[in-house]
Every structure is written in structure tokens, then in C-alpha cells.
């Protein structure tokens, strides 16, 4: 087994990032324009990286699948972004943010990375404010904070329920400024279909122009993958429809190790599924749990409408089970608790797959106006989708797939196991361990893009002689040919099943067996079922239209083909990890009270897998994690 070099610095944790940066090489400002950096994706990580590198003088090529870089899915993040500014004077510090994030991740993240994240978070708030991001403010004109998902301090900055949108538009504005200045070349409606690895280094990408169907090649000195997570492997998730794993999966197939794919986050507060036509799930920000109380009826199969169930017949199960944190327990804990009560038959609504999130008491206490000011847009969104008014009746909520902590393995410099391929934001695995705390995703995407990659990129490009590569290199020829053939093959099948149908089937299977509760028999079955479904796809899918024009059905089918490989791999990882931690709950490993039982003796490592072929068991490489500052303990929110 190869030893993975995380390049994590040692020494006092508060000095590590500063010391590490000092030890990294620099690229002279006059030389930066000689290096071309390809940035894939324009979410928080991609846009902030492309803008920052463009400002520094690098030649940046930036592509995205949407029609505008402003539409990347970071835009949908509602709740907020953490930073340990300690403006509310409630005892917060960088160390406490670090501590909470390591603990929240259930001791499966690197301490060095997490500390750096907590350290640069304050700078993100300053940067975004300087760009004109309109964060919420108090009457005195200073920034407002709120507490959020599992934190006992108020450290979350927000812009109404649209924090992701405002932060992304800030990064987008910086990006468009660089596009205007000529330092960034922006290529929308382009999808990366493969990576060109030449002499062992990432030297470019092959891209499909989604409008013309044509293939384009871009060569460069480094490739930055900022392509988000793989939640859509479950078909129904809170991700945007086009969010996909293909770029990351293609890189994995080219040699980048993929770490902890089984660490998926199920968000506790989403609008439940209403029918089999459903195309996506909508998140209700977990900020709602600050004022909403979660309950189910005490009687199984309660026939009355929730609002008619009297107080003494309601079970506020989170407050009962976790008196210290109550409704604010971390996401994995809240989600699992909802699943447990629904599985036991206490769920509400037509499907029994929902619990109440009730604002009655908050409205009585604070008045409707206060609740409206805090959550007005969320309540409006809820009513629009469900046709029910949450000011009058409890919201119905249920967990849904929201975020993926797993991703391509990267070292402390965010470089993957393919030299020159860097991975930022949700696409990498590094900072959230087995569970991500609320308001930490925006923080990580922007930390990676604004502050980490500008410092660490030179570790690869400075002081190294590199043969100039052009796009007529034989590797580009080969890679493009494979990509063309893959799409032609999909179009040629002309079978009887739509990609939509196969994807739904994959989603149900993953939700059932690789979702909130997992066991060995189910995971083994899931791996077999996915393999069979993959056969169905390659023998019986029917994709209409051609390859030479805008064809969303073909785009979807090609992404599904990759999900069908990734899904099996997730089951393999989940099966190998014989413990419960964070978002990964193995039913065989629980306490008598039904809480997760972690196994630090055997699984205190990141599982980085090396691709060995489709349907072949990938090769495991363990990166052992050490905890010098935060002693691994059983997470208790009681």
C-alpha cells in the first residue's frame, strides 16, 4: 500500500498555515502571465479561484456548464457562512470554530486543514464585504450574526435566506471584472468531458461545447477542478439538475484517488417527496430550526391534521432525546432521528415520510412580524411548493441528500494524486470529515478559492521545467476520440428505457441501501444492483436527438453513465467502513440507544481509492489521521 503524503505541516497548529506558505515557492509577478491555469466550474470555489488568479496575473481559462457563471449551484445556499469574528462576544474564537468543525466532522477530517479553514474564514467576511456583498446588519450598521446548525455561538453571517447567492454574485463580479480586463477567458455552456494527463501531469482538458456539440481542447500548466459534489447520484437531492460528478469521476479514472465516497450528507429539513414525477427536492434552510420545533404525534398513524393534534399528544423527539442541543443538533443526528420516528410509524402526511417543523410557539412568543422578517422568503417558498401556509399549520419536512463530504483526495496544497490537478470546494474531500456543519460549505469553497490556491498553486508550477504542450498532442487526440466514441455509443443503443427512468431507479436503490441507514447485506446487494443497472443502461437506454447540437438528454445520459460507476464505488466504500461516523451510519455499529458507534482503532483514516477498472474493486490507500489538539471523543449532543 502506498503511503499518501498529505504534506500537512507540523508544529503549533496556529502557525502551520503561515509557516507552510512561507515555505512555498513564489512565481514572480512578471512570469505569471506565462502560466495558463484551467479552472473548471464557476461556483464559490471556481469563481473565487479564477478571479483571484486572474488578478495576480495568471492566464486563466474558466468554463461552466450553465449559460452564465453566475448560475452555479452555490447560488442556492440559503443559510449562511461561518466565521469566528466573535462580534457577538459570546466566546467564539478561531480555535473554537476549528474545534467545532473537527468534532462536527466526527473526527474524520485533517486537523491542519480545518484549522486553516477556521483561520481564513474571518478574511472571507472582510473580502465579501469589500466587494459589496450586502450581509444582514443590525440597526447600528454593524454586521449581524445568528446561530446555526449545531453551534452554540452566533458565528453565522447571512444575507436574508440568500447567502450563497450574494457570496456567489460577489465572486462572480470579481470574475467578470477579470474577464473584462482580459486575464480570464470565460467559456460558458461547456462541459469538461476528460482530463489530459501528459508525462504524469495534468496538462489540459477536453470539453464539449453544449450548444454546438463540438469538442474543444484546452492545454495549460494546471487544472483546477471546482465542480461540486455528487449528490445527484441519488437522483432526488437538493442539488441543481445539472450538478454532476463526471469531471471528478473522469479524473479519478485517469489516476486521481477518490476519498471517502460514502460520506454523504442528508439534510434534515427538506420539503418531502410528493409524487413519482418529482424531479428534485427543495431545502428549507436549517436556520428554521432556531425557531421551529420538530415533532411527530405520539400516536402511530395519527389521522388528525397536525395543527389539530393537542400539545400533550405531540412528541418533540429532538428536545426529548437531546436536551442540551434540542432542535439544533447537527444535521446527521437530526436526519437519522427523523428517519427513526418515521420508520417506527409516527410520520405524518400522506406518505408517512414527514415530520412537523412547527412555528406556532415562536409566533406566539415573538409575533408574526419577527418570524416573517427572519424567514419570510422561506415561508413563501414553502407555500408556493406545497400550497400550505406555514404561519397557520406546521411545515412538513423530511431529510434529503444535500452535500457530499467525500471527493477527490487532495493534499494540504489541494493537489490531487495527479500532479497539476488541484481540487477545490465540495469536489475535494478534505475539510468536513464525515459530516459537514451548517454554514461551512460556503466558507470552504471561498477559503479554497480566495486564499488557499493562490498560495499553493506555485508549489506545482514554480521552478519546474515543463515541456510546452499544445492541443495537437497525441494524448489530446486520444482523449477526445474516447469522449466522442462514448457519446456515439450512448446514442447508438436506441433501446427501450429512458435515462430519466434509469436514473430514478438508481436513486431509489441508493436512497434505500446507501442512504441514511446502511448494513452489509444491503450494501452488497446495492453494489450488485448498480452493476446490473449499468448493464441495463449500456444495453437498453434510449437517448433521442444527436451529438451535434444542444441536446440536454444526451448530456444527462453521459452524466448518468458516470454516476452508475460512482454509485457502486460508494457502496464498496460504505461496506468496507465497518463503523458508524457522521453521515455514514452502519446499522451493525450502534449503541443500545441507537447512536452512532465510531471505531477509531480501525478506521481513523481517510479511505483514498485508486481506480482499477469499471466493476473492479478499487485499491484502498489509507491516510491515517492524527488528532493532536482535539481528542477524539464520542459526539454527544445530549
Amino acid at each position: 500500500m502506498t503511503k499518501l503524503d498529505s504534506k500537512c505541516p507540523s508544529g503549533p497548529i496556529e502557525d502551520r498555515w503561515r509557516q507552510h506558505k512561507f515555505g512555498l515557492p513564489l512565481v514572480n509577478p512578471a512570469n505569471r502571465r506565462k502560466y495558463r491555469v484551467i479552472v473548471v466550474g464557476t461556483g464559490l470555489a471556481g469563481a473565487s479561484a479564477a478571479a483571484s488568479l486572474g488578478e495576480m496575473g495568471y492566464e486563466v481559462v474558466n468554463l461552466c456548464i450553465q449559460d452564465s457563471p453566475r448560475r452555479a449551484h452555490s447560488i442556492a445556499a440559503q443559510g449562511g457562512i461561518n466565521a469566528a469574528k466573535n462580534y457577538p462576544n459570546d466566546g467564539d474564537s478561531i480555535y473554537r470554530l476549528f474545534y467545532d468543525t473537527v468534532k462536527g466532522g466526527d473526527f474524520r477530517a485533517r486537523e491542519s486543514n480545518v484549522y486553516r479553514l477556521a483561520e481564513v474564514a474571518n478574511n472571507i467576511i472582510d473580502q465579501a464585504t469589500a466587494q459589496g456583498v450586502p450581509f444582514a446588519r443590525e440597526y447600528g450598521g454593524l454586521l449581524a450574526n445568528r446561530s446555526f446548525g449545531g453551534a452554540q455561538v452566533q458565528r453565522t453571517f447571512y444575507a436574508r435566506g440568500q447567502t450563497g447567492q450574494q457570496l456567489l454574485l460577489g465572486a462572480y463580479s470579481a470574475l467578470m471584472r477579470q474577464v473584462a480586463a482580459g486575464s480570464v477567458r470565460m467559456l460558458p455552456r461547456r462541459e469538461m468531458v476528460d482530463l489530459a494527463v501528459i508525462d504524469g501531469q495534468a496538462r489540459g482538458v477536453v470539453v464539449r461545447n453544449l450548444v454546438t456539440g463540438g469538442y474543444e481542447r484546452y492545454a495549460g500548466d494546471a487544472v483546477l477542478l471546482c465542480t461540486g459534489g455528487y449528490g445527484n447520484v441519488f437522483y432526488l437531492s437538493t442539488n441543481a439538475k445539472a450538478s454532476n460528478a463526471s469531471a471528478a469521476w473522469r479524473c479519478h479514472r485517469r489516476g486521481a484517488y477518490f476519498a471517502n465516497p460514502c460520506f454523504t450528507q442528508i439534510h434534515p429539513t427538506c420539503i418531502p417527496v410528493s409524487g413519482d414525477y418529482q424531479s428534485k427536492l427543495t431545502l428549507m434552510s436549517e436556520s428554521l430550526r432556531n425557531d421551529g420545533r420538530v415533532w411527530v404525534p405520539k400516536a402511530k398513524g395519527e389521522a388528525r391534521r397536525p395543527a389539530e393534534v393537542p400539545e400533550e399528544e405531540r412528541d418533540y423527539y429532538l428536545e426529548r432525546r437531546y436536551p442540551a442541543f434540542g432542535n439544533l443538533v447537527p444535521r446527521d443526528v437530526a436526519s437519522r432521528a427523523a428517519k427513526v420516528v418515521c420508520d417506527e410509524g409516527y410520520g405524518i402526511g400522506g406518505t408517512g415520510q414527514a415530520v412537523c417543523l412547527d412555528f406556532r410557539d415562536a409566533i406566539e412568543r415573538d409575533g408574526k412580524a419577527v418570524i416573517e422578517a427572519k424567514y419570510g422568503n422561506l415561508f413563501q417558498m414553502y407555500e408556493m411548493i406545497t400550497g400550505e401556509d406555514p404561519y397557520r399549520v406546521p411545515m412538513k419536512i423530511y431529510p434529503a441528500v444535500h452535500y457530499t463530504m467525500g471527493g477527490l483526495w487532495v493534499d494540504y496544497n489541494l493537489e490531487s494524486t495527479i500532479p497539476g490537478l488541484f481540487v477545490l470546494g465540495e469536489a475535494n474531500f478534505s475539510d468536513h470529515g464525515a459530516n459537514r456543519l451548517g454554514a461551512s460549505a460556503l466558507m470552504q469553497g471561498l477559503a479554497d478559492g480566495y486564499f488557499v490556491i493562490p498560495a499553493t498553486l506555485p508549489s506545482h508550477i514554480a521552478g519546474r521545467s515543463r515541456e510546452p504542450v499544445t492541443t495537437d498532442h497525441e494524448v489530446f487526440e486520444e482523449v477526445e476520440k474516447e469522449a466522442r466514441e462514448r457519446n456515439s455509443r450512448i446514442l447508438a443503443i436506441q433501446g427501450s428505457r429512458s435515462a430519466e427512468e434509469i436514473h430514478r431507479e438508481l436513486g431509489l436503490l441508493m436512497w434505500d441501501k446507501v442512504g441514511m441507514g446502511r448494513n452489509a447485506a444491503g450494501l452488497e446487494q446495492a453494489a450488485r444492483d448498480v452493476a446490473a443497472l449499468r448493464e441495463t443502461f449500456w444495453n437498453d437506454v434510449r437517448v433521442p436527438g444527436g451529438n451535434d447540437h444542444l441536446n440536454p438528454g444526451l448530456e444527462h445520459a453521459a452524466r448518468l453513465a458516470d454516476f452508475l460507476e460512482l454509485a457502486e464505488f460508494m457502496a464498496v466504500d460504505a461496506l468496507h467502513r465497518e463503523e458508524s461516523c457522521g453521515g455514514h451510519f452502519r446499522e451493525e455499529h450502534q449503541t443500545p440507544e441507537g447512536e452512532a458507534k465510531r471505531d477509531d482503532e480501525n478506521f481513523k483514516y481517510a479511505a483514498a481509492w485508486e481506480f482499477q477498472g469499471v466493476g473492479q474493486r478499487p485499491m484502498l490507500h489509507e491516510e491515517q489521521l492524527s488528532f493532536e489538539y482535539v481528542e477524539p471523543s464520542t459526539r454527544s449532543y445530549k
Binding site: S68, R70, G132, F135, R137, A174, M176, G275
Partner: protein, 260 residues
């Protein structure tokens, strides 16, 4: 009619705009759907329509969409002549079929504007909006070590007003709704947001001039106070931001460049 007494399914007849490319002629394709669940979103209904078209050997209609929760600004569509459909302050992806009557005929067209060439079917090219932003829709601050965020207090009412403007999702519905295909509301939202904030002051004049001129040069029309933009805007952006932009533009036009 309340959600409770609405039927569970309805029969509808769709007329979908089909057009192979920007220079090809287009026409409506009729598709009948006998049992549309009223809990479906409009785009889920289009997914079903596409499934039917494909099953009959046709090519599905292309339409833009992504987040399906009303924030990315990717979805568009003119539904029975109304941008983002018949309801106020929502995007097409948030429109649900419970708002349509049994037996409804529904015409679905792309956003039509000189500044938005058709790409295919219901998909249009809105890159003009990005080019307007490139002309000054930013604060020129590089990534680095700016001052502490709280060193810049901003009165809450002003910050709230800036946030009202910043809520724009860039969908281009305002352009499609305007009889002049003007991008004034889109442009004004950004000019207004940044002119209200202290961060935007140093480039206040050059921003207003640059963005308005870019808008003009990209084939978007001018404003004749129709207020159709505001009526169509899924985020309820107010036309008073246009008034503020006009003041900013005039102020900058009559100032010496170094004082703009």
C-alpha cells in the same frame, strides 16, 4: 380555488415553440397531456411532455433550467404570454400545475428580445447580461486583506435597500417583458445596489456610465416607464431602482470625469 378543492389531475394541451437555431424559422408543436398531477411543477410537467415526445420518436424540446428552486435564474419561458407564467414574483420553476384549470391550453414560448438570440427551441442566449456586468457591475477590490468588515458601518435601511436590489437573479425576465426589450431593471439593480453602499462610491460614476452604455450597445432598448419589468420580475425588484440609476447616470454625465 384553494389547494384543497383543486382536482388531483388535469388535462392540458401544450403548444411548445420549436426552433432549430437562431436563423431557422420556428413554429408551435402541440402536445396533449391527459393526466397531469396538479402537485407537479411546471418544469416537471415539461419533463413529462418530453418523455411523451421522445416515446413517440420525436426530439424533446430544449429549455433552460437548473436549480429548480427559483434562485439560479436559468429557467425562463413565456407562458400564455406572461413571463415566468401567470403568478407574481416567482420563476417558471416555482410555478405549479395547481394554478392551471382542467382543459387548459398552454402556449410556451422563449424569452423574445433583440438582445437574446434564440439558441434552440425555448433556450436563448442571455450573455448580453454578463457583458453589462463586465462594464462596471463590481467593486474593484482584489482578493487580499481588506479592512475589517465592521470598519464600514452601513445603516440598516440602506443595507436592506441594497439587498432588495442585489436579490436580482439575472434571469432576463425584465427584458422579455419590456415592449422595448430594455435591460434597465437588470442594469439598475446592480447600479443601485452599489451606489447605495460605501464600497461602491469610488466607481459610482464610471459604473453608471459604463453599464448603461454597454446596455445600449448590446441591442437592449430604452425605458419608457411601462413597468412591465417590475410586474414580471420574480424577485419583485422595484422600478425605483431605475430612477436611482437615472439619477446616477445624469449625475455622472454632468460631472467632470475626476468627480464622477
Amino acid at each position: 380555488m384553494s389547494a384543497q378543492d383543486h382536482p388531483e389531475t388535469i388535462r392540458i394541451k401544450l403548444h411548445l415553440w420549436r426552433q432549430e437555431g437562431p436563423d431557422q424559422p420556428g413554429s408551435f408543436q402541440a402536445v396533449e397531456l391527459p393526466d397531469v398531477s396538479t402537485h407537479m411543477s411546471f418544469l416537471e410537467m415539461l419533463d413529462v411532455a418530453n418523455g411523451r415526445i421522445a416515446a413517440e420518436g420525436g426530439e424533446p424540446v430544449c429549455f433552460d433550467h437548473d436549480c429548480r428552486e427559483g434562485i439560479c435564474g436559468m429557467c425562463s419561458l413565456v407562458i400564455n404570454g406572461q413571463v415566468h407564467g401567470p403568478l407574481e414574483e416567482i420563476t417558471t420553476c416555482q410555478l405549479h400545475m395547481r394554478h392551471f384549470a382542467d382543459g387548459a391550453e398552454i402556449y410556451v414560448e422563449p424569452f423574445r428580445a433583440g438582445g437574446f438570440p434564440i439558441v434552440r427551441d425555448l433556450v436563448v442566449d442571455r450573455s448580453g447580461l454578463d457583458r453589462i456586468v463586465m462594464a462596471g457591475g463590481f467593486v474593484s477590490v482584489n482578493t487580499g486583506n481588506p479592512q475589517d468588515a465592521n470598519a464600514l458601518p452601513i445603516a440598516k435601511p440602506k443595507a436592506d435597500l441594497a439587498m432588495d436590489a442585489a436579490a436580482c437573479i439575472g434571469c432576463g425576465g425584465c427584458v422579455a417583458a419590456c415592449p422595448n426589450a430594455s435591460a434597465m431593471l437588470f442594469t439598475a439593480a446592480k447600479v443601485s445596489q452599489l451606489s447605495l453602499l460605501p464600497q461602491g462610491q469610488p466607481e459610482r460614476g464610471s459604473r453608471a456610465l459604463g453599464m448603461v452604455r454597454a446596455m445600449d450597445s448590446l441591442g437592449f432598448g430604452n425605458c419608457t416607464n411601462e413597468y412591465e419589468c417590475m410586474a414580471a420580475c420574480p424577485k419583485g425588484i422595484d422600478v425605483s431602482h431605475i430612477a436611482r440609476m437615472n439619477r446616477e447616470f445624469l449625475r455622472a454625465s454632468f460631472s467632470e470625469p475626476e468627480q464622477a
